[in-house]
Symmetry: C2
Subunit: 542 residues, 2 copies
Amino acid sequence: MDEHREISIAEFFEKNRHLLGFSNFQKAIVTCVKEAVDNSLDAAEEEDILPEVHVIIEDLGKDRLRLTFKDNASGIAKKHIPKVFGKLLYGSKFHKLMQSRGQQGIGISAAALYAQLTTGNPIQIISKLKGSTKVHAFTLHLDTRKNEPEIIKEELLDTYEFPHGTSIQMDIEAKYTRGTHSVFQYLKSVAIVNPSAKLILQEPDGKIYEFPRVTKDLPKKAKEIKPHPYGVELGILMRMLKETKARTIGSFLMSEFTRVGKTTAQQICKAAEIDVVNGIRFVTGWERRPNTLSKDDIERILRAMQTTNIQNPPTDCLAPIGEELLNKGLIKELNPEFSAVVTRNPSVYRGMPFQIETAIAYGGGITEGRLMRFANKVPLLYQQSAGVTMKALKSTDWPRYGLKQSGDLPQGPVLVLMHMCSVWVPFTSEGKQAIADYPEILKEMKLALQEVGRKLRTYISKKRKGQIEEKKFKTLTAYAKEMVEPLAYLVETTTKEDISMYFEALLKSKYTMIGGVAIDNETLKELQKEVSQQEEENASTE
Amino acid sequence: MDEHREISIAEFFEKNRHLLGFSNFQKAIVTCVKEAVDNSLDAAEEEDILPEVHVIIEDLGKDRLRLTFKDNASGIAKKHIPKVFGKLLYGSKFHKLMQSRGQQGIGISAAALYAQLTTGNPIQIISKLKGSTKVHAFTLHLDTRKNEPEIIKEELLDTYEFPHGTSIQMDIEAKYTRGTHSVFQYLKSVAIVNPSAKLILQEPDGKIYEFPRVTKDLPKKAKEIKPHPYGVELGILMRMLKETKARTIGSFLMSEFTRVGKTTAQQICKAAEIDVVNGIRFVTGWERRPNTLSKDDIERILRAMQTTNIQNPPTDCLAPIGEELLNKGLIKELNPEFSAVVTRNPSVYRGMPFQIETAIAYGGGITEGRLMRFANKVPLLYQQSAGVTMKALKSTDWPRYGLKQSGDLPQGPVLVLMHMCSVWVPFTSEGKQAIADYPEILKEMKLALQEVGRKLRTYISKKRKGQIEEKKFKTLTAYAKEMVEPLAYLVETTTKEDISMYFEALLKSKYTMIGGVAIDNETLKELQKEVSQQEEENASTE
């Protein structure tokens, strides 16, 4: 009984490291790369920098790899470096409502913890802050008992490879492999949804792969927002009221929530009936000080917040990839025969704004049915069958869109890409691999799938029509040659050559040969019209 | 950049409460009950108390329930009460290697956090420590920013319902339902694998259900063990060496690990080649002080530990339910027509001892294919399709054991029960719902399933044989009546009555009617023999 004691979060995750994506050698390396690349891209975007990230993997033998990450992002202030890498649950993103890749302040320090656990080697950080001339280098250990960093060495270096940025080096037990769940595939997926990023991978055998950027347009910058009244819970509201600097409940509501102006705040106060306290009637509850509210008062305020008609949260906090760039990314990395992309309008779940983007790509470089999932531009590699995305896919009537369906995924050379961006992505586990099943999210995903599905159907049916026409053309051509002689004999008036030429002209007036395929001219006209429209649209948005 | 700050583990789980099993109203109540009942049973077993746990659920309206738990376990020391219930990651079980229901020190405080988040009401604890006369009562809040308890009220009470124990009251947002994933089903499952526990459930409408105990034999008590050399990792070994009070590496190995005696420790030291340091040769590495070891030395020690032949860990740290009690529990709660139970011998994964128990129950109260999973006597309700248990089930050739198979589970009126006990159950997530897929665990589960499968096959084939014989008997009887007249006509010598009697006698010499079913006498003799053997065995073990 007397053996009760505190457990540090670092001890907890050391013993439960599979929860954070370190359950085996293959997964461990992808998780490390993911955490480092996420941070680099977040930091670059925040400071309007076109990101460049190098991932260098060296084989140290005995199942040990050295990972080096270098970026040109904004760098990290010296005072934060030890804790960012040497303390779990420390960061700038947890307390903000903002669309970012990282959410929790666990990722990169968990990677460092895994490195230390498996190889015992400290991690090395070099960082040059944007606007500074100093290059700081740290060698760090993690004191798991205390969940605090231990600085082994700290020095000033002369130079850093980029004008600013951060470099990390860690040694881990892991295996470098290719295939579905590999670093290579992970970076390829990152490249698709981050078309302005330049990624460079150096494999253990020295081979270098570049995933080039396809645009120099920086992605739209995500803005931080305040919580929406519909998304708050009693315990949180009580804490907010305790911690607020606002002097009246009215100013509290207006200053701490989004979409609450004076009128809405007044409505909430009125509906909450908080205007009488100890027999004193306030003109409205509005003027009461937050610290005078009883628990009953707060419960009534919460109910009033949830029942008052309040505008949806603003959506400028969301930064989707956009249809054009997502399509460019897809084409660059996968080279499909056909692709359709849709970025839905923003929507809201539990007071949280979110937005769904879906792409469907068909044929060409795509050879089998595949699903790619992303959350805030981060690829989700594991737990594909869990979560809301697969539910949306399963409930889509694929045969309606010209695809066969057996099992969970549509069949054939088709790739479905699903991207959710939000100020708070509701993951089903710390591993951050599957998105929770909220009805609003499911609905948006289904509508997005239907939209791209319809575009695919149009393409497939045109393609099939083209194939039928081609068959007709070939048949007619074959018959034509056979018929020339008997016809010539029958008509007698013309030579065989004349008749042959006549047939050819006849077919050509109806069909055009494009790349060895016969397309009937009507379909061709339609296609040409669509292409020129698309080009016009592209020209106007660029 | 300057907004970096620490995140408390309570804030983390407040925002990510779905990770701990509080993702919806129905799940939330089962999770709260589970955490409280787990703790009660652990505390009772630790002090050799026959456990009695009351679960009282009251409806407060507006989707709010009041949960009250009362047990007769050992109580909690006053100084620990606030932190046990008001601080996440605090407990006595995390740093021990011991088979217990709780592992992490998160469960009950997470339930308190959920209560506070959803209803804002503090939780109330009453506890009387075994051997004490004082009854302490606390009213607690959780300061999530600090992850520390806030004591609202503290008092001494006059009495407690049992000689000792703990009572908890918490108000939560939740829905009380019946069905598969309900409190009722949860307690029923608990009752099956805890046959010495008495559980009482009072539902919101006042109905009271008792799950009685079927034995007064206390379960075998689990012992704490030290880690086995095969299960340790470099980072952990480095920390152990830093923290040890042992003065030589030899005594370190012998005192901090299980199964390391003098000979083994010497072998490890020799294999690690740690006998030369700064040019000084020690007789063996044995005498070196732990703090003189370089990182290279430690790595060599780890490799030596993993390659030296060391006996498996002791298994008296495991407390399985046992075949007889598990069968009693099954029969009491489910009343099957047939059941077979196997408790496998202990085995080891990554240096951790574990043991698999499996039961199969058929017919009677069981009407459809079902799987029940348990870990350290705790029912696992969610994520049935994930983890190693389902993998073992899927890879079992059910038709071989007389069952049809379609989809994941064997078909028909059959229940499969799988219990893993270990000093450390490797769950795949904090929700503690699925067991990770280690090859050693999978193997034991498969062998256990095959063992009970064979017993079921014997039963089913006998039953089928009985059914065939019955059909034969009925056919013969029917024909007999038809044939009596023509036969009588043919033989002429006897009356119809004589022939009819003759046939009846003939059939009865071969078959016996039991409960309307004809069994051929040979099968009957076999069955009778088995039953009497079983009775003898039971008599000798009781």
